[in-house]
């Protein structure tokens, strides 16, 4: 049984973003693997070791964008595939789900597909469930621990608003992993060398045997958030009790409570 893990390439979380001529710019900041997806790669590598299968890391993006795939290879994934086609520019999340599902279907004997929780650029967090829906597989999202996994099925703990829910399903299944799963490993020296040498196959829509799904979500405008004018007032003077009393009065006077 093999495993696929889906990763996205995003601007570093510390990047200073701006909008220039309607285009998003992140200056000199590097593109990196979406931080949530490192947890997914970690889970995929652990489970492949338990089950004795191979891990294919999959990303949909521009042909030049392979940093995330290389990072995952360096962590220990066996294969990497980039899904890229000029016709995919402007895909919305349902379109992306259909394309990734078609790519997953092309990989042999897939029992599990891992995702991160959410992409830190678009912040949608819907793709794992959507890919599962396209494939017709169970969606086990926001998983913090995998309690049982064998050829017949999987039992996981999920985080919900109310706490934890333990669910089980058959395989194949789609799993999105959250941070509680455990710290992702660092790429090894050997891994980094292997990844640097790897040639990553690119699958275009022709190879997937599908037409470009037509996106219905448009982003007519991107803008910087309105600058908030905040007049910061530093409360000083007197003992901690006096400062606390002044602060409490000022908080009450703002009438937000």
């Amino acid at each position: 049984m093999n495993i696929v893990v889906c990763v996205k390439q995003v601007p570093d979380s510390a990047a200073q973003l701006s909008v220039e001529g309607g285009q998003i710019s992140w200056g000199e900041a590097p593109l990196v693997i979406n931080p949530w997806d490192e947890y997914a790669v970690e889970a995929a590598l652990q489970k492949a070791k338990d089950l004795g299968g191979s891990v294919t890391v999959l990303s949909m993006g521009k042909e030049s964008e392979t940093e995330a795939l290389k990072h995952a290879l360096a962590m220990g994934c066996n294969e990497a595939v980039l899904v890229s086609d000029p016709a995919l520019a402007g895909s919305d999340n349902v379109a992306a789900a259909r394309v990734l599902a078609a790519a997953i279907a092309k990989v042999d004997d897939v029992g599990l597909v891992f995702f991160g929780k959410q992409a830190i650029d678009s912040d949608t967090g819907t793709l794992p469930a959507q890919v599962a829906r396209v494939l017709g597989w169970p969606a086990l999202t926001l998983v913090s621990a995998i309690d049982e996994l064998n050829a017949d099925g999987i039992k996981v703990e999920r985080a919900i608003e109310e706490g934890r829910q333990v669910v089980q399903s058959g395989l194949p299944a789609v799993v999105s992993v959250i941070k509680d799963y455990g710290e992702p490993r660092y790429p090894s020296f050997m891994g980094i060398r292997k990844a640097a040498r790897a040639t990553i196959p690119v699958w275009a829509l022709g190879e997937l045997g599908i037409e470009a799904p037509s996106p219905v979500v448009a982003w007519p405008e991107v803008m910087a958030p309105p600058q908030r004018e905040i007049a910061t007032e530093i409360i000083t003077g007197g003992s901690p009790a006096e400062i606390a009393a002044t602060l409490a009065d000022k908080i009450m006077a703002e009438k937000v409570l």
Binding site: S13, A14, V19, I24, D92, V94, A97, R98, S122, D123, T124, G125, T126, A129, A132, R133, V134, P138, A139, T141, K155, E161, E162, R164, Q165, V166, Q168, S169, I178, K179, D180, V216, V217, A218, W219, P220, E221, V222, M223, A224, P225, I230, A231, T232, E233, I234, I235, T236, P240, A241, I243, A244, L247, A248, D249, I251, M252, E254, V256, L257
Partner: protein, 347 residues
Amino acid sequence: MTNKIWAYIDQFKGEALPSSWETIGAGLTLAESLGGGVTAVVFGENIKGVAEEAFQYGADEVIVADDPTLGDYRAEAYTTLLAKLAADSAPDVILFPTTTRGREVSGMAAVDLNTGVLVDVTALEVVDGVVVATRPIYAGKLLAKVQCSAKPQLITLRGRAFAKPVEDATRSGTPITVPAALTEDEISVKVVDYATVSGGVSLADAAVIVSGGRGVSNNPKLTPPGDLDEAGQEIWKAQQGFKLVGDLAAALGGAVGASRAAVDAGYIPYSNQVGQTGKVVAPDMYVACGISGAIQHLAGMRTSKMIVAINKDPDAPIFKLARFGVVGDLFEILPPLVEAMKARLGK
């Protein structure tokens, strides 16, 4: 089911999540431009009370599916039913709260209905009869206008971004009941168990959040029990700090948050983390105690209405966003602040 605007009510064990009612409020505002009223949709088991509340919060019609197969939320069962109802009645817009379930069901229903989903929206407007949404992207560093050309337009609303309608106890109605779409055999996921965290105000719904950072472990005056190792001593110290943070949260009827540094150091569970890789919150008041204000933390709380910062370091970036700041030791400021706030709030 004639209304063009639907509001999906997210409930857990017969209790609606508070942000669900905001979907009815936002729906009623849209209805002023688009016409008609708002139809609330509730799925679950033993949810009569939720349906009644939906009327009280302003829904003019409530669709209820009350069935044992819907007792535990399962994405497949909920999505299949919602997509079926929407395919039959063709609403123009379905609003969801951006809860874990709301996000999932809306995303999956978008696949079934061949439409799109606009997630975690903070503002809505109607332009030439089309709903245009505003949503933060890159953790709020930018805003995007988004719109969906297919119908229904599925939209999830960020908690607390839209006002909750005023409850009117005199309103009532008779729900339209519909059957579940799948039988138990057709649902592949089984719920085995729950470990629910009881009580407390959830970060998403809290009007006030008091958060602690790495600074909460920094009180040299405390002497931890001698039998702890170094890491244990640090955590013990941090827990004393978080107790003060919790006291202030309790005095203000709020929730406790944390920076990632506090979570990573094991002071407090990840579910309390605020920030780019934690929860994004927008309370009326956010009090940051011993938090420096790294860009990834600010991403999670910058849209709070009023920010108060307590930090030893006058140059901490958190002060730039703060309406009020105290440059000082949180261990000295918090205890009298708790008392002062209690006195002013009449507690």
